[in-house]
Every structure is written in C-alpha cells, then in structure tokens.
Amino acid sequence: MATQSAKPKWTELAVGTAITVPGSARQNRTGDWRSSRPIWNHEECIRCGVCVIFCPEGCIHFDQDQPGYPSADLEYCKGCGICAHECPTACITTQEEEE
C-alpha cells in the first residue's frame, strides 16, 4: 500500500502504486485485527522464554511491561495463541478483545 498519506486520492498514488520510502512496513501496525490477546500470570511464569522463541511474529519480548517478564507488543500481536499453547507452565491465557 502507498504510505504517503493514510487515504490518498487516486491522483496522489505513486507510479504503479510502488512503495518509494524504504522501511515503510514499520508504519503498518498489523496487530489491529487481533481478536484475542495473551495474558501472563506472573506467579506461574518461570521466565523460560519459550513464548518468545515460538511467537511467529517475534513480538514477545522481556522487560516491556514489567522488568524480568515477557509480554506481547500489541501493535503487532495477532492473538494466534501459540505462546499459550507452548508455555510449559500454562501460565498464558488468551483474553478476547472487547471491540
């Protein structure tokens, strides 16, 4: 998609609808169609990092929300639930998005 403005007129599109600005993928917050989000229970989490490794989006990192614990970057998390499925202590639950 063109990146010049959010909703360009047809006369404003780049030639061939090309992306002419490198790195424009960063402007796309692809997590907005997520239907559920992962929640970590810190009492059961052993901080093994399995969820970080298995996340297909690479959006789970340590130290985002709380020092020492993993959490998902919700701007990119699709809510697939793989982290919850793989967690060895089953400390991750998925919570349905309200909107």
Binding site: G16, T17, P22, S24
Partner: protein, 391 residues
C-alpha cells in the same frame, strides 16, 4: 536508410526488435509465434543483438521474467500466441498495474479445444481487459513498424504501459511479403534510450507490487482506467512522429473507400486486405461499399470510430471470435455499445468468420456485403451469422 526485402512478418518483427536494441527477450516457443523467438535466439547467439535471451519453461514464467526485467529498467520483448497468452493471463494484469512498458507480439491463434494451431482472434479477445495498449497489424510491414512504434509509446513517460502488437498467425507469421526494413540508425533515431519513471535499484530501494488493501485498490483501478484512456493522445502523437520519420502513416481507425459508402464493413487484422480487394471489385460493379478497419483496440478509439462510420445506415462487423452465451461477437458488442447513446447510429449486423483458421475467401466477404444491402432494403437486422458454417 531502408532496404527492400522479402520477409515473413515473424522474421521482420525479430529483425526490428534487434534494431530496437532490446536488453532482454524472455519467451517460450509456440506455434505460430515460433519463428519470432527462433530468429531472436539466433541473433543473440550470433552476437548481432547484445541481449539476454531467457529460455523459460512456460509463458507464465516468460511474462514473469519480463516484469522483473522491465522493473529494473531493461528494454524487454516477448512474443506468444493462444494457449501461451492464456497461460500469461494473470501476469498481464500485473505488468500493466506496475506500469512496465513490455512489448509483446501476439501471433493470433485460436484457443483450444479442440486443439487448433490456426488463426483467429479468440486469444486476444480473452485478454481485452488486462490494461495493455493493444494494436493490430494487417501485413508484415505493419507488424514490423508497429513493433518499433510500440517501444516508443510504451516507454513514453506519459504512458509507461505494456503494448501488445497483434498479427495474425500463419496469414502473417509464415507468409513472405515484400517490405521495407529500416536500418539500426534509422530505428534508433526514432527510439531514444528508455528513462524509466521508476525502477528497482539497490542504491535507491523501492518496493514494486505490494498489497493493495481495500482502502487503496479502487484508486489504483481508476489510475489504470485514466492512464489507458489518456494514452490515446500520445498514441496519435507518436504515430504521427513515426509517419514523419519513416514515411508510413498509421491511424487508430483506418478506412477504405468509406466516404460515400452505402454500407460499411468493420474488420480487424490481416483479413482487412482481402476485404479491400472485395470492396474494389464491388465498386467496379457500381456498389458503393467501404471498410472501417480497427487498428487500435485498446484504448478503444471511440471518436475515430464515429468519424469513420459517419452517417452510413448499415454497418457490418466481422468478428474472429465468439463470446459464448453472451453477445456473440466481442468486437460487434463493443461497437453496439459505443453507438447506443448516439442519436445517429447505423443498423449493426454481426458476422463471425475465420474461426480456427477457416479460410475467408472473397466470396464470403461478398455474402457479407449482400447481407448488409438486404438489411438496408428491408430494415431487418439478422441474427449474428457464422459465415461458412455447414448446416
């Protein structure tokens, strides 16, 4: 300088492509296009054409390679026919949407089944809506000339779209005709080096062909509709420049003895030349018949058509393909649509002829003109007629 030679349209096209100094030819051989790519392959192997010849494994790959090479700014040529064109189908849309000025010669052949290697227009009619400029040649000279012109138009920065040169299989591809072959200097004086609007370049990275989400797709289609329609201006302009340079004139719609005609027949492609012979014979007999020959098929030259048809009361349209279960003749249906909102419009009679290489002799054109006079006298428009059908 030009040399008078006897050449097949296929060899003539390959020779002018060589003189256009293309960088890439990616093609898969298919009858009746074969001689075009065979000869280009020889020219590359013999060192006469400094280009990469990519012997791909299918036409889908041929057009995909062409998109890639045009995207990096390489002058790109390919050629195909029938099933090969059909196999390219999905990539044809991408070439036009990405504004890639590929030139392709289509040796028009009927689509299977049953398997037919012979000539009609069912292959190109199936590809009407791919967003390419589409033009038809009537003889070897035109096939060569329009190929040279196609590079000039395609690379015009106001256009930057792919162009399809249609030339009838066997009737042109395999027939040796006298023609004037311009030399390289003459061609290159008409065809300056291409300066792409946009190209893939590691030093200035861009992405071509990304996803078009619902918020953007509609606008991209309007761009294509606008560009192809607006290409009409540069088409006429560059055809005029071609005429000044090479002394051979081409128009979006050609006519033949149409000025005072009582009935007109609309044709497209090589059979127009047979039709002209019949017009001459009928004129000698006192019948005022004439021709309207469609050269430019996309963008469709509506105003030229209106001017060419004028106030003639009966217009026949000869189609070389059938739109099954629909309006029968694809060209006729477009011409009918073009006249629908006009107050002055002719009675339009549909003919289907020359399917799958069936000969269309002089007598068949005679029958078409007779039918047009009958419509003029009775006022009754007959159902679409398949000429030469055994029943």
């Amino acid at each position: 300088m030009e040399q008078r030679l006897g050449l097949e349209a296929s060899i003539a096209i390959a020779e002018v492509v060589c003189r256009c100094d293309v960088d890439i030819v990616a093609a898969y051989p298919i009858t009746p296009q074969t001689h075009v790519v065979e000869h280009l392959s020889e020219l590359v192997a013999d060192g006469e054409l400094d280009a990469a010849f990519v012997p791909v494994e299918s036409e889908h790959s041929a057009m995909s390679v062409c998109c890639g090479t045009a995207a990096v700014g390489a002058r790109t040529f390919t050629s195909t026919a029938a099933q090969g064109l059909a196999l390219m189908h999905e990539i044809l849309f991408i070439a036009s949407a990405l504004r890639l000025p590929i030139v392709m010669a289509v040796a028009n052949r009927s689509l299977s089944g049953p398997i037919s290697i012979w000539n009609d227009h069912s292959d190109v009619m199936t590809e009407r809506d791919v967003g390419w400029v589409q033009i038809f040649a009537e003889n070897a000279q035109e096939a060569a000339d329009l190929t040279i012109w196609s590079f000039r138009l395609a690379e015009d920065r106001r256009v930057s779209l792919p162009v399809m040169v249609n030339f009838d299989g066997f009737i042109l591809t395999h027939t040796i005709e006298p023609m004037l072959m311009p030399d390289k200097e003459m061609v290159q004086a008409f065809l300056p080096p291409w300066e792409p609007l946009l190209k893939l370049d590691v030093d200035e990275p861009i992405s071509m062909g990304p996803v078009g989400i619902p918020d953007i797709y509609t606008e991209t289609k309007q761009v294509q509709q606008h560009l192809l329609t607006q290409a009409y201006g540069p088409i006429v302009e560059t055809l005029n420049e071609f005429a000044q340079h090479f002394k051979r004139t081409y128009k979006p719609i050609e006519t033949y003895r149409s000025d005072d005609a009582e009935v007109l027949l609309c044709t497209m492609g090589a059979l127009s030349e047979t039709a002209m012979e019949v017009v001459d014979r009928r004129r000698k007999q006192g019948q005022k018949v004439g021709l309207v020959r469609i050269r430019l098929w996309r963008p469709f030259p509506f105003e030229d058509l209106y001017r060419a048809v004028g106030n003639v009361p009966v217009l026949g349209v000869m189609d070389r393909a059938i739109s099954f279960g629909g309006p029968v003749g694809p060209v006729a249906s477009e011409i009918k649509a073009a006249f629908y909102h006009r107050e002055q419009r002719p009675k339009i009679v549909e003919f289907i002829a020359g399917l799958g290489g069936r000969d269309v002799p002089l007598s068949d054109f005679g029958r078409m003109f007779d039918s047009l006079y009958t419509t003029g006298e009775t006022g009754k428009i007959p159902a679409p007629t398949i000429i030469g059908l055994r029943e």
